[in-house]
Symmetry: C2
Subunit: 305 residues, 2 copies
Amino acid sequence: MSAQFPQGPASGSYFDEASSAEVVNARMGENINPRLREVMTVLVKHLHAAVKEIEPTHEEWLAAIKFLTETGQMCSDWRQEFILLSDVLGVSMLVDAINHRRPSGATPNTILGPFYLSNAPRYENGANICLDGKGEPLLVAGRVLNTDGQPLPNASIEVWQTNDDGFYDVQQKGIQPDFNLRGVFTTDREGKYWFRSVKPRHYPIPADGPVGKLLGSLGRHPNRAAHLHFIVTATGYDPIITHIFAPDCQYLGEDTVFGVKSELIADFKKVDDAQKAQSVGLAAPFWSVDWDFSLAHCKSLQNAE
Amino acid sequence: MSAQFPQGPASGSYFDEASSAEVVNARMGENINPRLREVMTVLVKHLHAAVKEIEPTHEEWLAAIKFLTETGQMCSDWRQEFILLSDVLGVSMLVDAINHRRPSGATPNTILGPFYLSNAPRYENGANICLDGKGEPLLVAGRVLNTDGQPLPNASIEVWQTNDDGFYDVQQKGIQPDFNLRGVFTTDREGKYWFRSVKPRHYPIPADGPVGKLLGSLGRHPNRAAHLHFIVTATGYDPIITHIFAPDCQYLGEDTVFGVKSELIADFKKVDDAQKAQSVGLAAPFWSVDWDFSLAHCKSLQNAE
């Protein structure tokens, strides 16, 4: 090179295979958001490490580009395929776990899922949230406690679940009654709640897009293990978003979004006793679940103490 | 849990933060494509490691989902935003480097880029590929050699570049003449080629999408350093896709797709000599580049030897 031109950086700062991630990260400006710098530094480091370990061919790289493009183009106001991807790769549960490390004894958190509605009807304890009359009757009863074991009166318990066909009401508009299998309950003076419902069923996540195709290629099914969703809140305590799982579901060990935690598998007892059934307003035989939630004191309040 | 139900897997195989990647990877089926298994195992491992290192908040996770979604939705028949993302994160150059490790002495490869056309006109040596008459005149001349230094007659040299405004012909349909600054040349009996053109200019990659916004947030500009693209092929030799770079470009040290390699920075000599200019059919002053390409024997042929 002739001396008349500026030389640019030392040749070491041009791209090369060995120091590729460092070269890319060194390109960031000085006055950028420090958290963005931190996040991108880690992402680029792991992305380049993965590429170096995989050594993709040009065709494999192009297949990845195509997959990501199709995943983005599958998204609409009613479908979020990148969240599905995050779910089936365990990333959603990992982010949830990182953000909800709880003191020992508190009920673990799980992901919210796409089927929550914020305006579910409020019921008295004992109400039956199953409005379509389909499925095996279920009684759910228990208490909301704090991690010291003290009952919490006036706690709010919000529940939502699939019907006996494995669909949420919002997936079957006009087929299921609106707000079928949803409700908000309040604990009594002893911290107790109870309601009637039906046994939940497993169901597939939407599998007609690129993520469903990926699951197929990986030899995986798209099914979630049967569960009820809950949000439990009480004044002065950290709210919890959680599930309880039916222990006899065939997909319990292979929930496709990795939502199952052993602490959240409930004991569903089958009760074949006409008198007991009549006393709770259900037909015999019915399923019965006793389930207590355990809430930790608000971290922010703890910090203030 | 009551004993009447199957227990699912041992609780250790449910999801937990510590072994998250292993749990996800263990879910793959037995009879799947072994390369897909290898690729996904590495991707999930690094993805989970990155999430654990970053510890994203829910809002940061959602911002990543939104970015990926918008990147997919920016793609069209005329725009590939995920390739742009791969380019600006250095992934495209890394994949290229991994797939084109060459014997010492061979001209390094670079990425093809989105502006190549396969049907450029074929010219005699000496032709001027600049059809719009704009810019500083340039003479490019040199030889195609093998890595032993032997000249290769009848080698094909395909060139394409921006015009003086920093645009390719395909970006300015109706403004630039079709096939402006593109051509295919053939080396003579001494392995020599030469053609006339104009000095290339730096130009921005498309920056009106999510990738452009990301570059802005990272304090990076969208500019590529000024260059000419080449594809050089000769019977019995590995084809090369490469660039040569102008040494005085202000973006030489910060090419936004990391295409610059020190071995590909050419010596652009300014020649202010009316007689020499006349002898090559250009106006004085003109720029002159001597550039030899060095091709390695076909790997497949070497293996056969």
